[in-house]
Symmetry: C3
């Protein structure tokens, strides 16, 4: 179960080539993407409606795609525009096309009710294109339900245990119950720590010594399971928790979004941007290498959790006090899914 | 779903050794084959009725087979003829035997209703034993339902796309809607092309230059999903399409038969015979090597198609004009299966 | 289906370390074992009740285990005794603990109804700790239902076929129908052979030449699927079958117990003890190496049988005269399972 009537991120822009076909499984279905001659991206279910050969085995021909079994050609609307055996291609043989939009360095796709696919609903992620923020785009697949990754991102208390030797660095993550605010669009979870030790990984790139003031402000958007994170570290007592950043401070903007691949696997699109003006490239790469390790730490946990939950399909998880944000977000999501189910009945 | 009351090809004759046991999965069931001392082949379900140890782990002993768990011995009728602990073997413990006949270099098996297993129903495939026709026996397993391979063989229009660089060689295969005739035993599909380019693979072995007159006459027999193909190529205008073959002409007889291995895999027995008197062996080997590539091209398509159809179990394939022969053959087959289902109810 | 209200062997004592966590799947469920500071072993279902992270990814901390996702700590009764975010750990969040006892070099576990888990029901296996008997502990997993391995152990007639070249050595194993006695606790199967050839493997370590008097007395205990075997070989006519053992005689005590891993796999705990006073170590190792081969011979048979039975879920095995002991033991087991099912309904 996941939301259907929502714009999901299907790919980083650069994953869809100018020539050729890009394939990805999304919400349980293989989708092929190709660019028309004007650069516009078409997203199409990965099968020819005639004999169900995957179109990913087909041929990209300008604005169209050709099935390489019997040669039918489909345009960007899914219409059959060429059939070798006839001058009049069969009108009823149509490929399934999904609304697809390229925006903010992402390819967005709408796999729910077509009539509701309004491009204006796509959230604006300005930081993606802001030249003063530097990042390396990442994409991973976790073999777990989207909900488990969402839970993980919303509850940073796990930094104390899962990421103890990387971005954790103390049990303060687990001891503090975060501040929680609820909005139309989702929840905001705020954690601020004064005068705590630098985590092991930050120490390696830090431009200051001694303890840190640390903040993590997570904005969780129900739409597209998106997390917008404002976080950072600064020398203790230099005012960062009130928004004053000294030169040595680290300030990050992160966009992390989840797209279900299937009921038990999830695409994780991840970027972690900084605005350092010196040594940008070197530090961006170092942070990226660090996150490869951090994300792997989560992967081990989440995939083990998924496997275990599959062994106990009738068990219910026990709730604890620190689940506050997770529980609220799950509730909002549940409301949205029920609303969507109701609309589908109309 | 496939036909049950029909003689299927289980193996090439030479696959069943004089001594020892040969195992193959057919219609979803493992079957063991062994030769009795007179050469007669026995086909038996691959389990001992006592404790279900596979008989393929047993021992061939003359006219019989011994289970190597507790030592029961079964004869060619499935009767228990020896039990170590008693002089009177248990009468009720019987192995399951399938009617099996060796004919025309093939081992034929009947896995339906025993009482209908009339050896006279086995079709005569004279070319198999005709010394003037030369071929190399081939056997492949495709991971697709038998129906998909049958569709493929009946619609040569795919040569234009799937086999473009091997035995295709032009879009003329896809442009021509073939002539279709219907018979009691199945359908005949005839394609004739005048003055077309030689396909890339034929060029390599051809004894003439320039364009070709090309013919393909497919006789599709419902029984045993058999295809008897008469095909060839000859220098343009030398009368081959009317049955006059000049010396340089290529004339082929091919027998291709399908036996379901399971609901989603199929045995493909294949031979492609020529009657060249010079350099027979060299050319037979070259053609065989070419077909290894051609059959692999089909395998990729068919297995991708099977996987995709399994993802969409409730979808229906869209029909197009060039499906004519496929549709007719599917209809005849459907009639036979319904007739068979009706008989089973009696 | 298998017995639940019974003490099963979970592991050899030495498999559970002093520090750290040992994991094993038993009766379909992963269980973690760890030792408390007093050496006592705790057996716990392998999941944290909060988010179902496997506790096998957790950390052993003295008398307790810590889940390494959000840091909850559970004691040997499954009670949550520490939660990072609060001074009062959540009372309702409990891990599932199984009664576990260490006795006679084995770790015993009770996975049925807790209220019936009486440690006095654990059978005494004195030979395990008798210093005059020497053995090497072995553990294997067979990919078959526990019943198939039980059948195998109860019917030694298969030595004539499965173990012909190792511990068989003649068709006398299959020819003799054994003596069968029935008790409250199970069945005793007795086989005695006078003046038969030494089996190939015994020949290699034997301290006598010529033929042998051979005995095998199997005590099959329903509880825990345990087999206690008294067996041996002695020079013909020296009185071994009446209990007089000359110095050259071989006398063995074997304990072999089965614990279901799942519906189609079984743990096999195996020891084969001798009391030779000379060259103990060398002979124990040689016998152990021989049994590695013998047990592999059974594994091939049992796993092939399991796979075949899964192909024919609706077939019934045919009975033969030599199944006597197997049939009786199956009947006793069936009675116990029905009794257990009745108790569960109360």
């Amino acid at each position: 179960m996941f939301l259907k009537n929502v714009w999901y991120i299907a790919a980083w822009s650069e994953e869809v080539p100018v020539t050729g076909i890009f394939k990805r499984k999304l919400l349980g279905e293989d989708v092929v993407f190709f660019r028309q001659t004007d650069g516009n991206i078409v997203g199409m279910a990965d099968y020819c409606p005639h004999r169900y050969l995957p179109l990913s085995l087909g041929r990209h021909e300008g604005d169209n795609i050709r099935c390489m079994y019997h040669g039918l050609v489909f345009d960007g609307k899914g219409k059959c525009v060429e059939a070798p055996f006839s001058d009049t291609p069969p009108k009823k043989v149509c490929a399934k096309v999904y609304p697809t939009v390229e925006q903010d360095r992402f390819v967005w796709i709408w796999m729910g009710d077509d009539s509701k696919a309004d491009p204006d609903l796509i959230p604006s992620l300005k930081v993606m294109n802001d030249k003063s923020w530097h990042y390396i785009p990442r994409h991973l697949v976790y073999k777990c339900h989207v909900q488990l990754l969402m839970d993980n991102l919303l509850d940073a208390s796990h930094l104390a245990f899962v990421h103890a030797s990387t971005i954790g660095g103390g049990d303060y993550h687990a001891k503090q119950i975060p501040e929680l605010e609820t909005f139309d669009w989702g929840v905001r979870v705020t954690k601020k720590f004064e005068n705590v030790p630098l985590p092991p990984f930050v120490k390696k790139v830090a431009r200051f010594e001694g303890n840190t003031d640390r903040w993590q402000i997570f904005d969780w958007h129900i739409d597209g399971y998106q997390l917008i994170l404002n976080s950072g570290q600064a020398p203790t007592g230099t005012g960062a928790l009130e928004g004053n950043y000294v030169d040595e401070a680290f300030h990050f903007h992160s966009v992390q979004t989840l797209t279900p691949e299937s009921e038990n696997s999830t695409h994780y699109f991840f970027m972690f941007a900084h605005s350092f003006t010196d040594e940008q490239d070197r530090i961006a790469k170092e942070i990226d290498a660090q996150f490869a390790i951090v994300l792997e730490e989560d992967k081990v946990i989440l995939e083990a959790q998924q496997a275990k939950l599959e062994e106990y399909p009738n068990h219910k998880m026990a709730g604890i006090k620190s689940d506050l944000a997770v529980s609220k977000a799950r509730m909002l999501l549940e409301e949205r899914m029920q609303k969507e189910a109701g609309e589908n009945e109309d």
